[in-house]
Symmetry: C2
Subunit: 445 residues, 2 copies
């Protein structure tokens, strides 16, 4: 063993070492202070969200016979049978559980100086489309195999709602004395008539049920497949010349329906809200064959909102990438792929629902035919995002009947059909869905 330093040197070393201790401690405290401040900022965003969630837990006293007021009444309260369970909207909160477990893979950080300009790529027809988002859209469609992207212009929108309006604007003849008719087979998405007619446009006008449409001349037919509200696969009905088709494929994803083939239409709409569950992002996209139609849709969005939020596009790109990655990198115990999670979620919910309702004389559910899914490579049942429930027997107004039991749903009348039907969301939180099943059981017993 080496000879120890003298008392004089030891003392010096100790002093030096203590000085170093103090210095390192101070630096560490600085770092932790910075981290804490960062956490507090993050927590204030987190806390804000918790507060918003809490504020959603409000007694909704007025009924929602129109889809308009219903948006303001999207909350439920605690309190047993008196608890109002609001399943009127398709707020996709069921997916939150998946996204909580993805961690950093789906986190985005945006610096203050980024994405300030109006413009994304001015050489593109859709000059406000963020290239990164466009790439992830193409990739996801390739992964899932649910749409042809080759030869398509991508137009991004503030939700597919804005793209629907952009499509009407783009497809309407410019110099017609009469507005072009916009039709859709019943039951149709409850917002289509009001979205079409609220501005009393001279360019287009709601023409009602496509099945009974007989007017001469050009028309626009909306084809939603799988359909909202009833979940069935659909084709166009009118099938005459001079018709423009808008295919709304919001639910053409593997968790809702077997993927039969890549959709290959002239104008196809998708939305992040129903694919990944990020409804608050307000991002949708259109795959458009015709360049002139793509230009006019872009023009509409320019006049409406001078483009689409870049922050949301960048975040959507991150989220879509996480979905594609989760599938392509395979499933493991640590990280289940998004589509496996969501398919399992919907399968469980529909199974539980059918168990509860199957022997009931009060209610009936739609029947679906299984089909081969090219994505999951097996024969599977459709499991739509909404249940199109029918009240049997003497119950003529199903929405009122269920409202009397504190379950808020959307009446079939909003979808152009009988009030014996209601549309009920299958995408809400686990808590709300389980309470809904319990309530149905209670009604039936």
């Amino acid at each position: 063993m080496a000879k120890l330093p003298t008392m004089f040197s030891l003392r010096h070393f100790l002093v030096l070492s203590l000085a170093l201790n103090v210095s390192l401690l101070l630096r560490l405290m600085m770092h932790q202070g910075a981290q804490k401040a960062h956490k507090e900022r993050t927590n204030s965003v987190t806390e804000e969200h918790h507060n918003i969630h809490k504020s959603r837990m409000v007694i909704s006293s007025s009924s929602s016979s129109s889809s308009t007021s219903s948006f303001a009444n999207s909350t439920s309260t605690t309190g047993g049978y008196n608890r109002v369970i609001n399943l009127d909207h398709g707020d996709p909160t069921a997916y939150e559980r998946f996204w909580r477990q993805t961690g950093d893979k789906s986190t985005i950080t945006i610096q203050g100086w980024q994405s300030m300009s109006y413009f994304s790529d001015v050489t593109n027809i859709c000059w406000f489309l963020e290239a990164e988002f466009g790439r992830e859209v193409v990739r996801l469609h390739n992964v899932v195999g649910n749409a042809v992207t080759e030869g398509r212009h991508i137009v991004v929108g503030t939700g597919s709602s804005q793209l629907f309006l952009a499509a009407l604007y783009a497809l309407s003849p410019t110099d017609s004395p009469e507005p072009i008719s916009v039709v859709c087979a019943t039951p149709y998405y409850s917002s289509y008539p009001s979205m079409t007619d609220h501005l009393k446009s001279g360019l287009y006008k709601w023409g009602g049920d496509a099945e009974s449409y007989e007017k001469e001349g050009p028309y626009i037919e909306l084809v939603t497949s799988p359909n909202n509200p009833d979940g069935h696969v659909r084709r166009s009905k009118v099938n005459r010349s001079q018709g423009f088709l808008v295919h709304d494929l919001a639910y053409y994803w593997p968790q809702y329906t077997p993927i039969s083939a890549p959709a290959d239409h002239d104008l196809t709409l998708f939305t992040v809200s129903k694919s990944t569950g990020h409804a608050g992002m307000r991002i949708g996209w259109a795959l458009v064959k015709d360049q002139e139609v793509a230009k006019k849709m872009t023009k509409f969005i320019e006049l409406n909102t001078i483009g689409v939020s870049k922050d949301s596009q960048l975040r959507a790109a991150k989220v879509l990438r996480a979905v594609s990655d989760s599938w392509e990198l395979g499933n493991s115990k640590e990280s289940e792929s998004f589509f496996k999670f969501s398919h399992k979620l919907m399968a469980n919910r529909w199974k539980q629902l059918r168990l509860v309702v199957e022997s009931s004389e009060l209610f009936s559910l739609p029947k679906f035919s299984p089909a081969f899914c090219t994505f999951f490579n097996q024969v599977l049942e459709p499991q739509p995002a909404f249940v199109w429930l029918k009240c049997e027997g003497n119950v003529e107004d199903c929405e009122s009947f269920l409202r009397g039991h504190n379950i808020l749903t959307r009446s079939g009348t909003h979808f152009g059909v009988s009030p014996k039907y209601v549309r009920i969301s299958m995408l809400d939180t686990d808590e709300n869905f389980n309470q809904f099943l319990d309530r149905l059981s209670a009604i039936m017993s």
Copy 2:
């Protein structure tokens, strides 16, 4: 002096102290490692944005006589006098320099599971308004003193463009046989006519110049103050009963104009694009007195885009907070306040512009009267976001004349007045602005 510890104790102390040093060093290295990983994630988003900027540097060959195609031609190329300088739009890239130096204060991180719902606060009239954003709007108006927020409903929009359309929808009578006229004194914002008329709405219709408006009955008058394009302070012109006023105060911020008093109107529009420079965010807000008007504006946005991007609202809240903080926490060498930076920027640019143009017989600039600014507490000159340049002498078409010199501007005809005027952006990059001054000098010499 106290007796020193024995050699045995000193050695022990030294060993303990050294052990503590090692432990503290290791902890510090861990923290720095975590920070570096965070920076790398940020840099990958940064790199994406550099690629987008590169894609903007494309030769724009077609001219832009209409504001429509002009959006697709917002780029400039390198190359001396042949370089096309596009100052047709108000893309606020001048502010990027400020935001680069704010660092973390304006950075936002959003986790994958946050803000997924459609809903923000369903107890609020504007159910998609993020509370945090609403609070920062109120705070900023208090800091600047440019608007009364007491007794106002805040409606958030995808830019003030969407809020303008929402205002038209909300103020139009529902059961009138004729569309209500929408008027504005010339020179008016070039997009107003097309935004008003592109859907040929039965509810409202462009009625032209407010100064010469004489039609009986209800009307909507747009008052933009400071005005776009000429920068002058404005009041309403029609001043009859049955008139609804929409005040567009996009430029009522201290860097553009003296703040005379808090704006106190029935319906006032603001936009993040022109206050902080974050045009790509697509966020605007309206301060609305009348509850029914606020409800109808909310309804419009619901039908148009089912709300407004939450990601953008949260980011806007962060940015507005950084602006308010930068003012309230005082100016220092390390961190200049946003308004000090931006006021100085505009002051320098206008000073340089006047120096170049003042002795010219070819061009003339508007004259502005200095006024007391309650924000900066001194008498100051207006320094608008656009220069309303007039070509004097024989030049009848100023836009063509300047286009011949590879400067793209927006012709006065788009603003309802003579082609001897053009609107030129004062908000573009330093590089473009300096090149513009050089080009003007070259033209005049």
